[in-house]
């Protein structure tokens, strides 16, 4: 089934090249993101105002699929102009030559937090992995930092962790094991997996935001590692959920332009607008994810601001996207080995 999907993706990319060329009248940009409330907010905060101001139509598409992106670039028939991807993938794709370099005459690079901008990508938003816990399950005993995850005596219950071999889980295991934040990289995989071994049977893995919320809110897991926006949404809904921002781990989404995009100029204009102080602040106010533009912080909703990673910069650790871009596949091999052992 999977095979079929990939095969048809390649084939349809080919077919579309025939039909796609016919319809190219007014300027437009195909914007691709992960769907759900995030993409709704991106449409509302970036696409709609941008279309109104510039007359360029923004077509929403999705969800992001790295395999599809690669297939499009390889077939030379690129249907996507701006794609929201994870930070480590942005760097890996750039190294593989799948991305267009950005036009920093239009995008104001000096206004973007340097952690979230590179030659081939500009931040979409950033967020933190935080320690979330179910207050109903743990009662008055509040976990403080990642080491609580490994203390099954004081904090009983299952631990919800992010299931993909991507930045986050290994880092928090090392931090819990006492590795200093500035000594994390290169990751000591043996040590990380050894630490994770101690709670392996207590882990439930989540693959997406909705699933993580379901696990925590239902009490299926008493605590775990979550995207801060998802915890905020649960709290807004009145779920008995607490959060610790200690050692919050910063991860980002990056906007990239696939190589061979047919609307490159319009795409750059869109990126300039999306990464502007206003675009970033508007998006953050809708989602509780943090803005990558340094001027946006002043424009944040005052009630929301304390719930954003920007408010916890002091005890914050930024995951090393470049390290993961380079070593991700090798780490994944180890990861899979450890998982099925």
């Amino acid at each position: 089934m999977v095979l079929n999907k990939a095969a048809t993706a390649i084939f349809f990319a080919g077919l579309l090249s025939v039909t796609g060329q016919a319809a190219m009248a007014a300027e437009s940009v195909n914007f691709v993101s992960w769907g759900g409330s995030t993409q709704d907010a991106q449409k509302q905060a970036w696409a709609d105002p941008f279309s109104k101001a510039s007359g360029i139509t923004v077509v929403q598409d999705g969800p992001t699929d790295y395999g599809k992106l690669k297939a499009m670039v390889e077939s030379g028939n690129v249907q996507w102009d701006v794609v929201d991807v994870e930070a480590d993938f942005a760097l890996r794709a750039a190294a593989e030559g799948l991305l267009e370099p950005l036009d920093f005459k239009q995008i104001q690079r000096d206004k973007i937090d340097p952690r979230f901008v590179s030659d081939h990508g500009v931040g979409s938003f950033f967020f933190s992995f935080v320690l979330g816990y179910n207050e109903g399950k743990l009662g008055a005993n509040k976990p403080q930092d990642w080491s609580a995850l490994f203390d099954t005596k004081s904090f009983p219950g299952k631990r919800a962790l992010y299931k993909w071999p991507s930045p986050g889980v290994l880092e928090l295991a090392l931090l819990a094991d006492g590795v200093a934040a500035d000594k994390l990289y290169p990751l000591d995989l043996d040590r990380a997996f050894k630490k994770l071994d101690t709670i392996k049977k207590d882990i439930v893995w989540w693959g997406g935001g909705a699933q993580s919320q379901q696990l925590l809110a239902s009490g299926e897991a008493s605590m775990g590692q979550f995207w801060n926006g998802r915890i905020h949404a649960l709290q807004e809904d009145g779920a008995p959920v607490g959060v610790s921002w200690k050692q919050n781990l910063v991860m980002a989404d990056i906007l990239v332009v696939p190589k061979g995009s047919k609307n490159k100029d319009a795409a750059m204009k869109f990126l300039a607008s999306a990464s502007s102080a206003k675009g970033q602040a508007d998006f953050s106010n809708l989602t509780a994810y943090a803005p990558v533009n340094i001027d946006s912080v002043a424009r944040l909703d005052s009630t929301l601001a304390p719930n954003l990673p920007t408010a916890y910069a002091k005890d914050q650790i930024t995951l090393d996207f470049a390290y993961w871009a380079k070593n991700g596949p090798a780490i994944a091999t180890r990861w899979n080995e450890w998982l099925v052992k």
Binding site: Y66, E337, V340
Partner: protein, 314 residues
């Protein structure tokens, strides 16, 4: 009975053209004369559009994809070496087949009585039950999988009910492990057993069973020696369909299983989507296809002639 019999036939003729067709035609020429062979292929030209479509949109991309396994990132068998050298992947492969096997067994065990009941109840009722079985297939797979999550999880309906009744005092672990995967997938696969099996049972002449008891067979003997063998084509085709479908299942294991139960499709997705390592992914896919084809071949070898033919021969 017809259905089951014809389901396997064309696949020998057209499916794996090189090996199986050669075998089949060899057998045919040995058993029958040349004219019947000619007759068999008469009108085959009408198949051309369908074959062209399949060739262009299924076979060609499939071959292209499989080629990646030996061409990327460098030409050679490096990807296969990596697959076989690493014990984790052997484990993943083992998981894939054991889950598919378990799911097949459970859906056969559950599907059999259901199909039987549909055959036995008065005709109108049977159609209703069959409709209900079909209806479950129209509901979104994701919704059905999530509902199992709600039922099975530690704070779920089943555990709460059992604990309230005092049968257990610790919630049973029924999801995020093998149990969850097998429950969820068996449920989804049951219709694929019931449909062919019910068709087979419907076609069994009740007189045969009657004849059995007249000849002095006890109900048990009658069931095991007469009824069950007659159901075999339906059981075999349903079982094979479920087994092969289970090998490629992705959503349900991903949601109801734990990470340690990783199956091959999940591994392939990881390589395709996260790491753009299409060579390794295609090697994994090729392995799955080859093993499936081998099993299919074994099945064709073991599958006896249709019961009608067999009883006629006797």
């Amino acid at each position: 009975m017809k259905m089951a019999a014809t389901a396997s036939r064309p696949s020998t003729a057209t499916g794996s053209a090189a090996s199986a067709a050669g075998l089949a035609s060899g057998k045919a020429s040995a058993m029958a004369q040349a004219p019947s062979l000619k007759q068999r292929w008469r009108g085959a030209g009408n198949l051309a559009p369908a074959l062209l479509f399949l060739g262009l949109f299924f076979l060609a991309p499939l071959i292209g994809l499989l080629l990646r396994g030996v061409l990327e990132p460098v030409p050679g068998l490096g990807n296969y070496e990596q697959l076989f050298a690493n014990s984790a992947y052997a484990r993943v492969l083992f998981n894939t087949f054991s889950v598919a096997g378990l799911v097949t067994v459970f859906s056969l065990l559950l599907g059999f009585p259901l199909a039987w009941a549909i055959t036995l109840v008065p005709r109108g009722w049977g159609r209703w039950i069959l409709n209900i079985v079909l209806l479950s297939m129209w509901t979104s797979l994701l919704a059905r999988t999530y509902s199992w999550l709600v039922l099975l999880q530690a704070s779920g309906v089943i555990n709460k009910a059992l604990m309230a009744m005092g049968i257990i005092d610790q919630p049973l672990e029924m999801v995020h492990n093998l149990t969850g995967v097998v429950i969820g997938m068996s449920y989804i696969m049951i219709p694929f057993i019931v449909l062919p099996l019910q068709a087979t049972m419907q076609a069994i002449d009740p007189m045969i069973l009657q004849a059995g008891s007249i000849c002095g067979a006890s109900p048990w003997t009658n069931f095991f020696r007469v009824f069950l063998p007659l159901c075999r084509p339906g059981l075999a085709s349903g079982g094979l369909m479920v087994f092969v479908m289970s090998l490629g299942y992705y959503v349900t294991p991903a949601l109801l299983g734990g990470a340690q139960n990783m199956m091959l499709p999940e591994f392939i997705i990881q390589q395709v989507q996260s790491f753009l390592n299409w060579g390794l992914a295609s090697a994994g896919a090729a392995l799955l296809i080859v093993i499936t084809l081998v099993l299919f071949y074994v099945y064709l070898k073991l599958q006896p002639e249709s019961p009608v033919g067999a009883s006629n021969a006797r």
